[in-house]
């Protein structure tokens, strides 16, 4: 059973270490735009997908690898929780 706060924390940690190394962690909120603001590009999105599938043992579909589901930590958490 996945806990929402754990998912949020894991995703947040991954994004900070993989895409925002050296940045102030307090600036990354659950609503910060990731794809539409350019933090995640197409390859970054694929890295995130690979991380989510491996870390939470879920399988994502192609149409879920878009800003609609992955643009913020809140949306990513929602997607993972729905699986």
């Amino acid at each position: 059973m996945k806990r929402r706060t754990d998912v949020q924390a894991s995703v947040r940690e991954f994004i900070l270490s993989e895409f925002l190394a050296g940045e102030d962690p307090s600036l990354l909120s659950n609503d910060t735009a990731l794809i539409s603001a350019g933090i995640l590009d197409s390859i970054g999105t694929l890295k995130l997908v690979a991380f989510l599938e491996e870390r939470f043992d879920i399988s994502l579909a192609a149409h879920e690898a878009t800003a609609e589901h992955l643009d913020t930590i809140a949306r990513i958490t929602e997607l993972v929780m729905d699986k």
Partner: protein
């Protein structure tokens, strides 16, 4: 390079239904809402004002097609109206307006605007759309739906291929293609991957995008993004973005003109190392036209309340090939990513991320290549696969694959690494390398054959490298100033938190300044106040004519469908060219005999001798005095009928005058675009055969600029010129056949008055040789109204000098400078945005000309002289 964390988006675009972050008292919250509401109204009104200024400028500069410019005005009005429409009705309101514009544009035919045509053609577009959308929404499997869509597409394609409905229906097929060829794929994909069917109102608005009605090459808007883009906050912040993009689009289109007229050259004209760089750089910069149009159309949609993303973002400053792919035409990238790249990647995911990425990227580029040809087929009617095209997409695809694999395997690094000297240097060098390779690839894509491209490169030498280095240095400096420095200081700026209103006022002032600046530059009177050597450069940026030196993929598509001259008005430029055809003598162009077509509701007919006049026998009838009228398009009567043109009106007045014993015949020899230099060729070629008694040359203030232009053309087109003076002048000004058109004119312009005065003298000599009295009438143009004259006081001085030159040349001069006094330029011009003489202007000129001729003793002597009556 990674962007720093930005909270701006989360702050500006809150999630729908999101709760406020902090609790406030009810009274405090109420006051805040009231304050925002009042400020928002003011801000929104201000940005809408700027939008109308932008629309006026787009018309003033004659950017893109006439339909595009008209739709800009309609779009402005629509956006303003939609601001007041309740949110729940906005989608429906937007769709209704778009469909109305579609019917309006499709209603234009050879015979003018016809409601029946608009409705019937609109119904066909609507019918096809309903069938396609119904198939997408049908609850059957994905592939059966895709198969059915392909079947319907084939039927429509066959109809388009066989031009069903005739040439006037070309616009319909192009419109159908432009709306559905890509968006139906996106829609099918989104419907197939959604749990619920999309709303009908969202679907209708998605396909009926207002600016798409006049722009065939349209950004592939994503359905889900569009459906969610209906902003719940039509605030000044949204409008600020819309106007910002429209202004940026205008700047791109103006710069494109500069590139086209000053930098571009045909690949076959490349003869030196420096010209190699010139062609390569121009090829890359030609994309400015696409990005300009895309910025404007998406900006217009944003103004209509759709919070859509940007289309292109500083693509010249990309620091890698993947970065370039993400920045240039972002809508296309998103479309390919969603429909082809991600499904392929997920299909091959089990092979490992690297292999999946390679397969997905290669497939994405293969589809991009095929879909570009598919797009050409729908919009232009032919498939275009060539070696340059194939190589362009193959090389770019492989570069992006390599870059993508490297990015996938790269270890995470600090996002602020570029603040260090080493990081900055690496980013700048990567940007330069990317720009260099992309520019070379663009030059390949914009060359028709591989052998021509290789021949062009055979001229490369050290100067090519030096000029290329200069171009890359400019790009690196731009990258440093525009992207590296702001990123380095981003944190500081964020902490300062300057008030939003102050920033908005600054942005507003900046955009207003840019628009007004371009507007001022666009007035001919401004050109007269600036040094002669930069005048042609400013002139080319504000003039609508395009050289066509580089016919890139996108230019062909933006120029519109071949043969369609009605609903889109795309063929307007072609039609103007079709009125004339090139000749090798000093006329340089001649009017095509036997023309008969309708333009803007007025029939244009040329006679068998290539005159905008009735059929005229060469032999002069007995008892007749012949007056040959020479001039440009104004005098020719562009946009008026034979009966309304000043030569006919003058003839009627002369023949109705009882005091004249002879019958008068006034023949219209005027041809669109003729300068005094061309008139010399015309007298020699045609006028002399008609044995005129008087040659009436109507002169305008543009004589000097046009004479310079046509003098340069003598060398560029190898015109047969019997005058050694012209040859000598071209030699003295160092004008070669391959000289850049604009730069050559810059060199000739200081001698413009001298060359024009010489041409006047030669016209007089030629007239005397054929026994005709040379009369010159100096007449103003409609746009040079009283207000402009006052604003540019030296216009009067220049006119006086031109009159002096005409008199000194030996003409009998008719001074018509005050003919339009007291009249508005709007009533003197054919249309608000077309400066040719209206019927009224023709009447006024004919009346004053008649009076002055009747009061001039020299002219009277000719008119009253006895002529043989048998």
């Amino acid at each position: 390079m990674k962007p720093t964390v930005s909270r701006s988006h989360a702050e500006v675009v809150p999630e729908r239904g999101a709760r406020p972050r902090c609790k406030r008292g009810a009274v405090e919250a109420h006051h805040e809402v009231a304050a925002v509401s009042a400020g928002d109204k003011l801000g929104s009104a201000a940005w809408f004002g700027l939008l109308f200024v932008a629309a006026v400028l787009i018309n003033r500069l004659e950017l893109e097609t006439a339909a595009f410019r008209n739709v800009m005005f309609v779009g402005c009005a629509a956006a303003f109206t939609l601001h007041f429409v309740p949110m729940r009705l906005r989608m429906a309101g937007f769709t209704a307006l778009s469909l109305g514009v579609m019917v309006w544009l499709l209603g234009y035919t050879e015979g003018g605007w016809r409601c029946v045509d608009g409705l019937s053609k609109g119904a066909v577009v609507l019918g096809i759309g309903l069938v396609l959308i119904s198939i997408c929404r049908w609850r059957i499997g994905f592939w059966p739906r895709a198969g059915l869509l392909m079947m319907v597409g084939s039927v429509v394609g066959t109809a388009a291929g066989f031009s069903v409905g005739g040439s006037s229906w070309n616009g319909v097929w192009v419109l159908v293609a432009s709306i559905f060829m890509f968006r139906i794929m996106v829609y099918l994909y989104d419907v197939s991957t959604s749990k619920q069917l999309p709303r009908i109102s969202e679907t209708a608005a998605y396909f009926a995008l207002l600016p798409n009605m006049c722009v065939p090459l349209f950004p592939v808007v994503d359905f889900r993004t569009f459906a969610k883009s209906r902003s719940a906050r039509s605030t000044w912040m949204l409008y600020e973005r819309g106007v910002r993009w429209i202004v940026r689009g205008v700047i791109h289109l103006v710069l494109y003109r500069f590139v086209d007229r000053v930098i571009s050259l045909r690949p076959e004209d490349v003869l030196t190392g420096a010209q190699v760089t010139q062609f390569v750089v121009a090829s890359m910069l030609f994309y400015l036209r696409v990005s300009g149009v895309f910025h404007i159309v998406i900006g217009l949609l944003v103004m209509c309340g759709f919070d859509l993303p940007e289309t292109n973002r500083r693509y010249f400053l990309a620091s890698s090939f993947t970065d370039y792919w993400r920045r240039v035409n972002m809508y296309w990238k998103d479309f390919i990513l969603k429909v082809f790249y991600l499904p392929t990647y997920f299909r091959f995911k089990h092979c490992g991320p690297t292999r999946a990425l390679v397969f997905a990227t290669l497939f994405a580029f293969l589809m991009t290549w095929i879909l570009h040809a598919y797009q050409t087929w729908w919009l232009r009617g032919f498939l275009s696969f060539s070696w340059p095209d194939t190589l362009f997409w193959t090389v770019l695809g492989l570069l992006v694959v390599g870059n993508g694999v490297w990015e996938l395997k790269r270890k995470p690094t600090a996002t602020n690494r570029q603040v260090s000297v080493g990081g900055t240097v690496r980013v700048l060098l990567a940007t330069a390398l990317t720009a260099a390779v992309i520019a070379v690839l663009w030059s390949l894509w914009n060359t028709t054959t591989l052998s021509l491209w290789l021949t062009m490169w055979s001229h490369a030498d050290l100067s090519t490298v030096m000029w290329f280095g200069g171009m890359l240095a400019v790009i690196m400096v731009s990258k440093f100033v525009v992207e590296v420095l702001p990123t380095a200081s981003a944190k500081t700026i964020r902490e300062r938190k300057s008030p939003k209103m102050r920033k908005a006022v600054y942005l507003y002032a900046m955009h207003l300044f840019v628009l007004i600046g371009i507007m001022i530059v666009s007035f001919p009177t401004t050109h007269e106040r600036i040094p002669a050597y930069v005048r042609p450069i400013l002139g080319c940026m504000t003039s609508a004519s395009i050289t066509g030196n580089i016919q890139g993929y996108y230019d062909q598509l933006l120029d519109g469908p071949q043969g369609d001259t009605t609903s889109y008005d795309y063929g307007q430029q072609d039609r103007i060219h079709k009125v004339l055809r090139p000749v090798t003598d000093l006329r340089q162009r001649e009017m095509i005999p036997g023309l008969d077509f309708v333009r803007h509701g007025v029939r244009f007919v040329s006679n068998a001798s290539g005159m905008h006049d009735r059929e005229v026998p060469v032999a002069k009838p007995p008892g007749t005095i012949r007056i040959a009228v020479l001039g440009s398009s104004h005098v020719m009567g562009w946009g008026v009928t034979h009966d309304q043109v000043l030569s006919r009106l003058l003839e009627r007045k002369l023949n109705n005058t009882a005091s004249l014993v002879n019958r008068c015949e006034v023949l219209n020899f005027a041809v669109s675009g003729y300068s005094p230099l061309n008139q010399l060729g015309l007298i020699e070629h045609s006028v002399r055969r008609y044995s005129p008694d008087i040659v009436l040359f109507v002169s305008h203030s543009v004589d000097q600029e046009w004479t310079v232009m046509h003098t340069q053309r003598v060398r560029a087109e190898d015109t047969k010129c019997p005058y050694s003076y012209i040859e000598q002048t071209l030699l003295e000004c160092d004008i070669a056949k391959t000289s850049n058109e604009i730069l050559a004119r810059c060199r000739l312009l200081p001698r413009g008055r001298e060359i024009t005065a010489w041409a006047y003298q030669q016209i007089v000599v030629e007239c005397q040789t054929i026994g005709a009295l040379p009369v010159a009438a100096f007449a103003p143009l409609p746009r040079e109204g009283e207000l402009l004259r006052r604003l540019a006081s030296n216009r009067g001085v220049k006119d006086a000098l031109q009159l002096e030159d005409l008199m000194a040349s030996g003409f009998v001069v008719m001074d018509l400078r005050t003919v339009f006094d007291g009249r508005q330029s709007g009533e003197l011009a054919l249309r608000r945005w077309e400066g040719h003489y209206s019927h009224l202007a023709h009447q006024l000129v004919a009346e004053v000309l008649f009076d002055q001729m009747m009061n001039n003793t020299t002219v009277q002597e000719v008119l009253q002289r006895p002529v043989a009556t048998n």
